[in-house]
Symmetry: D2
Subunit: 88 residues, 4 copies
């Protein structure tokens, strides 16, 4: 990852950590489950956006370099692994 991307990812991680601390407080204060679930859904969406950013960077750097460097089998195998893992 280049410096700009890393800073962006770290900023997004800090946001997720803060959001998660808020959820912990909601659980400790015994707030309504439906409201807590709406927050955890939002946290997962924030993580997905962070993943999209990392994937974008990965495709533009490692994947292009890997394929140009004759390692297409490895980089494509990794992408297919990620695809399968992501769908569970």
């Amino acid at each position: 990852m280049d410096d700009t991307s890393r800073r962006d990812v770290l900023r997004r991680l800090a946001y997720v950590e803060g959001h998660l601390a808020g959820v912990r407080k909601m659980v400790e204060q015994d707030q309504y489950c439906v409201d807590i679930l709406k927050q955890t859904f939002a946290i997962r969406r924030a993580i997905e956006k962070l993943e999209a950013k990392m994937l974008d960077g990965h495709l533009h750097s490692c994947v292009v370099e890997g394929i140009e460097g004759g390692e297409s089998e490895r980089v494509i195998g990794e992408l297919l692994d990620l695809y399968t893992l992501n769908r569970r």
Copy 2:
């Protein structure tokens, strides 16, 4: 949420927070994006399990009580909202 469920949810939240701290370290150390993505996928799955636990408790308590207490429109509306939000 009853006490046992709340403790379980808090334990799962602590696990997610620890996992997220590990991801932050991986990003700071500039580890391979593919490895970081595998970890964030695992974090989302852990959050989904926590959500399933909360939904289980919610259905067995608030939803049953709401319907028995004549508030079926409200509790079912909330479930459909959650369903839509979850699919985005």
Copy 3:
């Protein structure tokens, strides 16, 4: 399902079947994979909307009646099964 819902679901199924026949044609004509994938994504979204309609009807009828009739364990167990299956 009441008659209006059933007609709506059948109409949506006919749409999905037509869309799928279009995809088959695209594959037979060897069209670009990226374009075919965009169509299969749209088909899955159409199926998800159909599912949301069926779930809506199910919650408003069978679930309310089941809980009022003292069968909350069964109907809630079924909802949790669906939730788990849907997340795979």
Copy 4:
């Protein structure tokens, strides 16, 4: 797509079409919504497997050739579009 892949994709499409016809019959016979939903979930999973096959072929052919042919911006842009569309 090469011939073997196309035949595989067409075979999978035929399976999905048959499965969908079964669901239509279930709806027409007014079968239990929960049972119908389990079938539509299975249909979406079958479509996802078909998509994974197509993506596999796409990465190994068009993406590698595109990057080697100096069109990395285009093929990577398409992959990111698919990723976003797939997550909605």
